[in-house]
Symmetry: C2
Subunit: 250 residues, 2 copies
């Protein structure tokens, strides 16, 4: 499972509000599910603060390793939004007001009766060589430069913009997964499940304990891109759990 | 604000289930709030899969940079739990069954009427030189080695164990924060808020847009360790927002 040949991706979340604990990040989860459905392996996520050096360093580490990198946060109109500048610095390119972004924002502000402030027009500043990503919710665009997609932090807008990216993404074979619930403590499962996993190398098997209604159990998640291997492993896990729960041993 | 002299920390979340999108991480947020209250700056968080090389590399990168590193996940009894081995590899030390951990687990399994399986006893495997972290919920201990605290992924247990760490932590001056709500679009705030932020270098000012009940607005979060500087900046922000909302200009 670890070298599937599928495209790989990383997420870089930018924002003091996540690291201070003030805000619970939900964008990593949204992007993870979006990528999984398209057969792209999310290998890594990082959260850094609104700090130029931290953003540049993390972005440069991630973009050379992965086919796609998604950043969220820091592209609004206020002084703490420094992502566009940091991305330009990471790529070593200048940044300036992008004519098409200026046009989009001006039309939107006119329509909404909002004043065209310097702060608002900062949202049109785009690194040289980048291509705009449309924002179907509040117009201010994101952008793509190289293999990096720069998206806003507001979850509803981020998710809408993610769906604008289909054409840019190298896709793979989606992983399919089946969950088998075992009403047994994980410790009873560990040894036989280890042997079973060794016999099914083309699937990945994870075990996640739960405690519900006074009952200890584990959800066994079997994942694979190979439908046949998945089915064989699922049957083997079901049969193992059945034997263990009825005390029939292995 | 960026070099406060306070201790710094990083979080490393380990688990395929987070990167596949199956599970929403909540541990980063819990640890962030815990550290914030103790004046420890959470600088960075990373999420990696249950992969030996990925864990070792991320852990070694984080532990040399920060005063404290917290890992969550991958210390259960099943084959996909490889965190203890990866931590031993990162520190270049052997791993074996820790006598005190064996004693704790045996007593617990006896008490609960659970069989002592090889899988269960894997939870007693601890890198050489590490010290146990008590688990007040389900007994299986975490451990500290150097500046790294190894904790489980189950949020309720992770949080209980975090509170066992007080004595190990270098503490700083907690950041205090005040939020001022402005019922104004962020774009109207951007320019004057930038000037205000420049006049108050001892505080950090973040602006977080919201859209509630048809009303656009921004929460302006002012943060500082200096109570006087915080109070002065809060007054300045309140006064600015008041002027902008009543149309009195700047």
């Amino acid at each position: 499972m670890h070298s599937s040949g599928n495209p790989t991706a990383a997420v870089l979340v930018i924002g003091d509000e996540i690291l201070s604990g003030r805000t619970q990040d939900v964008n990593i989860n949204t992007i993870a599910r979006f990528l999984g459905e398209r057969g792209i392996d999310l290998k890594e996520a990082r959260i850094v603060s609104d700090d130029m050096d931290a953003i540049v360093e993390a972005l440069n580490a991630l973009r050379i390793r992965h086919d796609h990198v998604f950043t969220t946060g820091g592209i609004g109109p206020t002084h703490d939004d420094i992502t566009a500048n940091a991305v330009a610095a990471a790529f070593g390119v200048p940044i300036s007001h992008h004519p098409e972004a200026v046009r989009i924002l001006r039309a939107y502000f006119r329509e909404m009766g909002r004043e065209e402030t310097e702060a608002r027009m900062r949202m049109a500043r785009i690194p040289e060589g980048a291509e705009l990503i449309p924002n179907p919710v509040s117009r201010a665009p994101g952008f793509r430069i190289g293999n990096v997609f720069v998206l806003p932090g507001v979850p509803r807008i981020m998710e809408a913009m993610l769906h604008e990216l289909e054409k840019h993404l190298a896709k793979g074979t989606p992983v399919r997964s089946v969950t088998v619930e075992a009403r047994l403590p994980e410790g009873d499962l560990g040894d036989p499940l280890r042997r079973l996993a060794a016999e099914h190398p083309d699937v990945s098997i994870g075990s996640y304990p739960f405690h519900e209604g006074g009952c200890l159990g584990a959800r066994i998640v079997i994942r694979s891109r190979d439908a046949g291997a998945l089915e064989r492993a699922v049957q083997a896990v079901r049969s193992l759990v059945g034997r263990l729960m009825t005390g029939a041993g292995e």
